[in-house]
Amino acid sequence: MKELMVRAIYCESLGYEASFSYIHAIKLAQQGAGLEKRVGYLAVSLFLNENHELLLLLVNTVLKDLQSTNLIEVCMALTVVSQMFPKDMIPAILPLVEEKLNHPKEIIRRKAVLALYKFYLIAPNQVQHIHNKFRKALCDKDPGVMTASLHIYLQMIQENPEGYKDLTASFVTILKQVVGGKLPIDFNYHSVPAPWLQIQLLRILSFLGKNDQSVSELMYEVLDESLQRAEMNHNITYAILYECVRCIYTIHPKSELLEKAAQCIGNFVLSPKINLKYLGLKALTYVVQQDPKLALQHQMTIIECLDHPDLIIKRETLELLFRITNAQNVMVIVEKMLEFLRVSTDDYTTIDLVGKVAELWFIETMNTVFSVGGDMMQPDIPNSFLKLLSEGFDCVEDDRKLRLFAVDSYISLLHGEPGKLPQRFLQVISWVLGEYSHLREELEPASVLRLLEKLLDMKQTSSETKNWVLMAMTKLCVGGASVSVAQQVSETYISSMDTVLRQRAQELQHFGQDSEVRTRVLPRDTDLENTIFDVDSSLSFLDGFVSEALAAGAAPYKPPHQRQEELAQAKALSLEPYGLSLPISMSSCSIADRQSPTPLSMSSGLSTTLKLDGVKRVWGREGYLVQRESVEETAQVEVPSPLRSPSQQAEANGSHSQTPTQTPTPEPEQEKQQLAASLFFGLSSQSSVCLMGKSGPTSHRFRRKAKGQGSISGATEQTSKTKLNDSDIKGSDPSLSEDSGLVAADSEDMNPHEDPERPKDLCLSSHLPAELSGLCHSEISPLCSIQSLDLSACHVQKDDSLVLVIFIQNSSDSAIRQIPLDLDSDELEVMYYVSRVSDSPVEDVRSHDVAVYQYSLTVKRPSVHVEVVGTVSCPVGTPQTVRFSYKLPLTTFIRPLTLSTEEYGTMWLAFSHDTKQNLTLISDDPEPLTATLSVLKRKLQLHVVEIIGMEGILACRLLRDRPCLMHCRVHAGALAVWLRSPVPDLPDCLIYHCQRALQED
């Protein structure tokens, strides 16, 4: 049976269903003896869980075994009990387990304590009466039992630290003894005394010492000792150190300990061991809320971790950044988070991070948008923002956080200088505070009311804003203090000239007095999507009033358009030009004419404005993404730039004056520093002074960090100097580049173009413009070089044009601006290529880069060879102009012309210029004429129109559209060629090329 049960367990762990064997497992535990019982218990504990109904059948077996005289059986029973036991059966065995606390064998006592711990976890109130027995266990002479009892204490102290303050001294003594090595050697783990016990105690102490100075003072000494003792380079000591650090930062702070703990964290973060790095980051995350400076010390490491290949490290780093987010660095951090989101595939992480991004970015950005955009923005934006806030996302908890965050940030804004905020923002603020300030429980409604009241008293507050504020106050006035404030306010405004304001003040007064009506009219936490407002659009509740008025002789209501028509008819005047404005003014009149609406209709009216059916969801999920990107872009431009130059300069200074051998910081390092600067921007400005002080004592391990940090604090202190430095650098730039440029030119002169042309050609051809790269181009040949500039050229034959491409290669270290380049030709018309925006070929050539100029060439006057001459001068250094020329055969301008024989005939007669010549015929071919013509066709791109017997006709065109026709006849072993064209000289040039082509062949 035992074997079978083992096999059943194996089947289950392979994933096969073996539920039929569950009952046998219980039976085996019940009836088996020795090993069989043990396997039975094991099978039960693996198969079933706490809530399984079969577990009830085990209770009797456990009872029996607990009473057994066999130690092993008792152990087995206690083991299974502390793993799983039906909750409602605990009372049945509790007395027996309690009894075991006094058992002579420590292993039984230990297991009993752990069983009680389990009971405490699943049903705390059932073990309440034995708390004093726990104390006895804590004082047990066996350290194992004592350790076990700490689990219970940790749990209880976590829930209620106040109740166990008196035990602090005992815990501290125990820890002191453990750290001092008073325990038997059995408890050592890799020669560290009882690490599990130490960690457990440290956790307990941190709960006890939290926010309690007197209790914390008791433990300073032992914490210090633990820190010192844990010197060995082993994981287990790091575990203890980590726990120590956490404890030190949790309890009431003591500066010496904090310093030591900070150094510990530094060691963790800088450790090459990835596990320690992770824990270091975690510790930093934990610590950074109290002490942002610490993050600043390790900023370079943090930046490196951001690019770590391990996503877990990356994520932890983001978590850390999330904690140090402030108004200055929010953009950069959110950007980093989004970057991570793009690569992350894990849904869980994504959800978590998206929530954070939304929380951070959304409110902060909207705050900026509102305060900057202010009154200029469309009313849609605040409306949809509020809509989004009130509808929320799918997760209730996220919504709550988001709203809470909004409330917090608005309260702090109002505490500042609300007078500077734009009206619309104030409206949004008052709405949010009215709706959600109750989420922040410690916030008194009266204090919010007072903040709002301040807004009302400000001169620049518009009456519309005052309306919003009064509405918010109406929502908020609960309880004595706030009602009195509300009364005061309403008395001021009840006599206001503005009717709407008066209305609001009335409402405020009434609702303040009668809270029952208030809660009915303005229910809290209204979910706009789920609540259906019964807006009576036909205003039927006014029917009675209307009929009364009608009975009293009032004129019946007419819709505005009807009135307008009547008006037009009555006056018999054309009101066309004002047609648009009139109905509007009349409708507003009609509102004013009506009795001022009842409070109910007004408030429901306000709610409907928030429903905003017509408003586009600009801030819907896709919508605000777009907006976000644009915001970020601007942020990128703004944030890093002022910080970069000083840090660069600091770097440069360092490399020049102090350590001349040191290589200058490589490019990525600078980028990182720049990133660091933007990430830690807000932090450094808060604490730059302390930093300078702090960088002193930090030992050599921090040297690299200290430098970065110095540059940052320098940056903030010297912001006024920044610009100066900047221009200094720029001013020195040209001379530097000139030097290097000269050197480069010299070396170029020493071996002018000795290197084979091929590789250069290859690299230059990669610079060919995309639209030309597909076409075949001639070999790229060098034109000339001037100082650090090398000019080369090639031509590209397109179907309807010839493009000359000139490459200017800049081999110097600096950009060269505005290179004057002129091209001219006697035979050709040179046009700077049209695809460029500017019509003159003036361009900047960056250092070690190639500028490409394109010219389109057309033939003015045909010649056998055409030539382009150009001049170029280098704007840098001594003025110097170099001439160059580029020669092309005329054939590059020849394209085939497709014609029919008839067209050929008519054109032939029309052309005036002609020439005749006898050319050699390719005679070794059976069909000499065809062979000859195909050579011409291939080499000169002539189009063979037709071959009739011994005669052939061909056609071509000179770019663009200037035709030339050719008639050939085999006569006496030679080819008699007759060319005709409307262009003078063209036939002559062409016959020359034909001759060459046939001779070469």
Partner: protein, 153 residues
């Protein structure tokens, strides 16, 4: 600790111990996904994972992965040492343990685990004491079982 899993490099589950009540379906789902996640990680990466809402500590010994899920506030490094100690115990008990030992004697591996961890907490951290308890149980039971040779049913 919430649970402990042992699985091979091929993703075969060798040992599982759950300290939180979960249905079989959930257990299987978690196991499958976690095994995939852990196997996908490269050797140089750190041994800690934030996986879903769990914190997972894993370590590879030869062809076996030991993987523990712990609570948020638990100490990761000490969990790593728990794994290590468990491996040491297995090693001592089986005498240079290999995967096959665990496959063929997995109930023994469970017994050792139960003696070392109880209800998800370290119960007895002394190597000597754990093995003494196991040996006692083995010695006491095996001969008794042979002596009486009781038919079970």
């Amino acid at each position: 600790m919430q649970f402990m899993l042992l699985f091979s490099r091929q993703g075969k589950l060798r040992l599982q111990k759950w300290y939180v009540p979960l249905s079989d379906k959930e257990k299987k789902k978690i196991t499958r996904e976690l095994v995939q996640t852990v196997l996908a990680r490269k050797p140089k990466m750190c041994s800690f994972l934030e996986w879903r809402d769990l914190k997972v500590v894993y370590k590879r010994y030869a062809s076996l992965y030991f993987c523990c899920a712990i609570e948020e506030q638990d100490n990761e490094l000490i969990t790593l040492e728990i794994i290590h100690r468990y491996v040491e115990l297995l090693d001592k008990y089986f005498g240079s343990v290999c995967e096959l030992d665990i496959i063929f004697n997995f109930e023994k591996a469970y017994f050792i685990l139960d003696e070392f961890l109880l209800g998800g907490e370290a119960q007895e951290t002394s190597k000597k004491n754990v093995l003494k308890a196991i040996e006692q149980a083995d010695l006491l039971q095996e001969p008794r079982h042979e002596y009486f040779n009781v038919p079970v049913y």
